[in-house]
Symmetry: C2
Subunit: 107 residues, 2 copies
DNA sequence: GGAATACTTAAGCATGTGCTTAACAATTCA
DNA sequence: TGAATTGTTAAGCACATGCTTAAGTATTCC
């Protein structure tokens, strides 16, 4: 998932898909890149679950999957809040003289 | 930033750093990987701004930078809400007969 | 049917990434 | 001082990644 987000072209494709579904060649138009190149990026995006595609007739329609984006978001949020929570505890420990609830070093 | 998050070892390092700062060799301990390998991952993490390091004496102390994590989170959040907003408009359009506020196709 | 459209597949190539080992600092401490 | 600890640098290697071109395969439209 983060692997899929790591490439600027793929992020640009995601940004475009926020405005609505698009065909492969519509997605390719803004880029100075061959169609197969774009298709390969789409495969990575689809493999990560960030994008869903459906072929109707000869045109493949691509759309973003918000739930998967939210998943990545949730991962980051969990880490960040854990880190911040720790910093908050540290801060309040430094501010007051009250003994903290639990620590191992200060027996 | 997403590039830095794309590697599982680096994500594991981040998870560890949520619990507090750690030295390079402390970070390396859980992994079946040489020290230089870990150092290289730390360089990527520091380059992305996700981790801050400071060398005191002969030990380098590494800590997570929540603000940068929040930045990545914000990027994802912006995309997701844009995509969801569009889907909500679509849904309410399908549910009611009221004309939507703005669209280009239905002049 | 036959030409145009919209992709798809396959192959190949240059560069990037993740890792290793080996050798080299720099710091601490007996 | 000199040995142990902690990290750094450099080189090299295997494999992954991002791209290309060339040649297919469906679909649609005339």
């Amino acid at each position: 998932m983060f692997q899929a987000l790591a490439d600027p072209t793929r992020r640009a494709i995601l940004i475009r898909l926020c405005e609505g579904p698009a065909s492969v060649s519509e997605l390719a138009r803004p880029f100075a890149m061959s169609l197969p190149g774009i298709v390969q990026h789409l495969q990575v995006l689809e493999g990560s679950g960030l994008v869903r595609t459906e072929k109707i007739g000869r045109v493949r329609s691509c759309s973003i999957v918000p739930a998967t984006v939210r998943l990545a978001e949730g991962w980051l949020s969990a880490r960040r809040t854990a880190a911040e929570r720790r910093l908050d505890r540290l801060e309040s420990f430094l501010d007051s003289d009250d003994p903290p609830t639990t620590t191992r070093s200060t027996s």
